[in-house]
Subunit: 277 residues, 2 copies
C-alpha cells in the first residue's frame, strides 16, 4: 500500500457522438469519435481522514468523482491539476473520475483490474449526467472511434492511427446535462452517419469533415463557434467544435493561421496511466 | 503521403499462455498474461523501389513482416532497431510485424484503422508460427491480460493497472515454433489456471506467482532458468521465465539483488504508436 498515487489522464475532445441510454449505466453511453489530447488532467489521490476534491487548488464538487470514491468505499483526497477549462468540452470531469478510480485502487489496494476501474468511472460519469463517452476514450487514447456504447465489458473501440499537432480556442461553456437531457434523436442520427463515414475512411481528415457535418446537423453549432470554424477554413485549415463546449479545435496550426490566440497541444497516443512510482 | 514513418512498439514478455488454434489466423492465438516493456523496437518504414527488412542494420528475413507487407500490397524498406535479442521471448518478431503494419499504412496511405492493422500483424505472426499473443498485447501496452484469443475484432483484453521497474537476464534462445508445434494440451490447461488466478486478483504479485506455476506445470522451465529464478527468490525477489525464450524477468531490482548483471527497463503503459511526425 502506497500513501499517494498520481494518474495522468489525457484530455478528450469529441467530434461527433450518439446518445445511447440504458438502465444499466455501465451499458449506457455513446458511440462516436474524438481526439485524446496531451493537455490532460493529473490526478493525485492521497489516503486521507476525510474526503476532499480539488481542481487546480480550489475545492470543487464533481458528481462523477464522488460516485467513484463511493463505489470504491474509500476516504481519500483527490487533487486534480489541469491547463484545460471545465465545462468546455475537454472531458475534465471524466478525466477526474477515471484518475480517481485508478489512483484510489492503487492507494487503497482495491485489487481491481483496469477495465473494472474504467467501468466504474464510466458508470459514474453517465449517472452524474456529465458525459457519455469521454472516460472510455481517455482510457484508450489516440483518436478513438467508439463503435459501441458502454464500458469496456460491452463496447468495441477502434482508432485512427495518426498523430499530430492540435490547437484549441475556448469561447465559453455549454452544459452537457442540458443537451443530453433534451430530445437526442436527431443528434443520434447525425452521430451514426458521421461514425459510419469515418469507419469507411479512418483518417483524421475525414474525421474533421464528419465532425463539422455532425455539428451542423445536430444543431449544436453556436454562432460564435461557426464564425471561428469558417475563419479557419478561409485560412486553409481544418477545424470543428468540441462536444460539448463552446470550443473550437483545429488540426496543425489552423487556428493560429487564422489569427486566433490558440493553445497548442498534440494527439496523445496512450490511455490514462498511473505515474511510475 | 509521407516518405517515411517511424513506429515504437514495446517489447513484451509473456508470463503464461494458452494455445488456441483456429482455421482463421485472425481468430487463432492465445489467452494469457504478459508485461509490455519500455525496451522495445523502433521500426522505420520507408517508401522504396524494392522490399528490404533489417534488424539493427543487418538484413534479416522475418516471415511475419513479409506477410504484413504482402497484405498491404506495398514495396517498402522496413528497418528495425532494438536493444532486445530475437528469439528470447521479447516479442521482437511481433513488434516488427506490428511496426511494419502501422508504418506501411502511414507511408502508403492505406487508410486502414488501428484494429485492422493490428489484425493484419496478428494474423501474419500466427501464420508465420512465431507468436500467438504478442502483437495484440503490444498494441495495448501495460500488463495486458488476454482473456480471449485472436485479433481485436474477436478478443477481449483487460490489464493490471500497475507500473514499475522490470529487470531481465537473457540466457539463450528457445524456438517458439518447436514448442507450439508439439502437443499443447497440458500447456493450455496450465495457462487457463494461471489466467483464472490472475483475473481473480489482478496484481503484478499474483501475476508473477501464476507465471512461475505455469512455467513448472507446462514443463517449459529449463534448468538454467530455474536456477536463476531460485536465486532471485533466495535474495527476496520475484522472477519468472519469459515465454518463449531462455530469459528470466524480475520485478524491481530482483535480478541485480541476486548478483546478476541484468538489464533494467520498466512497464510501458501505452501500446504501439507512430512517432509524432
Amino acid at each position: 500500500m502506497t500513501d499517494e498515487a498520481t494518474v495522468f489522464v489525457p484530455g478528450h475532445v469529441t467530434g461527433f457522438f450518439t446518445s445511447d441510454p440504458d438502465e444499466d449505466p455501465t451499458k449506457a453511453g455513446s458511440r462516436g469519435g474524438g481526439i485524446a489530447l496531451a493537455d490532460g488532467v493529473t490526478v493525485t489521490v492521497t489516503a486521507s481522514e476525510e474526503r476532499s476534491v480539488t481542481l487546480n487548488g480550489v475545492d470543487i464538487e464533481v458528481g462523477a468523482v464522488d460516485r467513484v470514491v463511493d463505489a470504491l468505499r474509500a476516504t481519500v483526497a483527490v487533487n486534480a491539476e489541469t491547463p484545460l477549462p471545465l465545462g468546455s468540452g475537454f472531458g475534465v470531469s471524466g478525466a477526474m473520475a477515471l484518475g480517481a478510480a485508478l489512483g484510489t485502487n492503487a492507494v487503497c489496494d482495491r485489487g481491481l483490474s483496469e477495465n473494472e476501474l474504467v467501468t466504474i468511472a464510466h458508470g459514474a460519469e453517465v449517472q452524474a449526467g456529465t458525459g457519455l463517452g469521454d472516460v472510455v476514450a481517455q482510457a484508450r487514447g489516440g483518436v478513438p472511434l467508439r463503435l459501441e456504447p458502454g464500458g469496456p465489458q460491452d463496447n468495441y473501440i477502434d482508432a485512427i492511427p495518426e498523430r499530430g499537432r492540435i490547437e484549441y480556442h475556448v469561447i465559453g461553456e455549454l452544459s452537457t446535462e442540458a443537451v443530453l437531457g433534451g430530445d437526442t434523436d436527431a443528434l443520434t442520427r447525425a452521430g451514426e452517419q458521421a461514425l459510419s463515414r469515418v469507419v469507411k475512411e479512418p483518417t483524421v481528415d475525414t474525421f474533421m469533415r464528419a465532425s463539422r457535418q455532425f455539428a451542423r446537423e445536430a444543431e449544436l453549432l453556436t454562432a460564435d463557434v461557426q464564425a471561428v470554424v469558417e475563419d479557419v477554413a478561409e485560412a486553409g485549415g481544418d477545424a470543428s467544435m468540441a462536444m460539448l463546449g463552446e470550443t473550437v479545435f483545429a488540426l496543425g496550426t489552423g487556428l493560429t493561421d487564422a489569427g486566433y490566440d490558440a493553445t497548442a497541444t498534440e494527439i496523445y497516443p496512450g490511455g490514462a496511466t498511473l505515474d511510475d512510482a
